[in-house]
Symmetry: C2
Subunit: 109 residues, 2 copies
């Protein structure tokens, strides 16, 4: 019933799996930054950072806005929701199954 349910989870996972992109998300969670100030601490070129930002933006984890010549990037926390929901689904399916099993076994651990 959600908008783009499954595909987005794949893209979010792929996006966050890269160490540079994960680092970008972590830095942005402390507040918005320009592309060049993001590039500083990371040991990669400005171009690479811009490429990462495009991926993060496409999967809804980051929002950017260009004012003058500066592009300001900020975290879109709503972007995490599909992933969080996916994890919850795994757990609830698993526990549902364990309940059925409980009809037969009544053991500890």
């Amino acid at each position: 019933m959600t908008a783009t349910p499954e595909i987005s989870v794949d893209r979010i996972l792929r996006a966050l799996a890269d160490p540079s992109r994960k680092a970008i998300v972590e830095r942005l969670s402390r507040g918005p930054l320009s592309v060049s100030s993001l590039a500083g601490p990371l040991e990669i070129t400005l171009t690479a950072v811009a490429q990462h930002l495009q991926v993060l933006e496409e999967c809804g984890l980051v929002r950017t806005e260009k004012i003058g010549r500066v592009r300001t990037c900020s975290l879109e926390t709503k972007g995490f929701l599909p992933l969080e929901q996916w994890i919850r689904d795994r757990r609830s399916l698993w526990e549902m199954r364990l309940d059925q099993l409980g009809d037969f076994l009544a053991e500890d651990e």
Copy 2:
């Protein structure tokens, strides 16, 4: 202050970013399965599945036990906790920052 804090999140994300491994996790969330029954629906060899399972086991998302010649694989839902915590941390850091901003601005959206 957690056990293996940051490294494990990286490994969990890398593990789940692969479509085959994500599919394995999804199928296992409905209940334990053997390696060969996991391999069936996926269009890859048994060897490939075994390799994926090793990755999933190493990052704590799957537990396996070999009885006789059959290795039974089950989901370890606790394995998701570091990732869930990481997401929560991003959000709370971000919102903390928004609160400070509220001292200056009092706008809607």
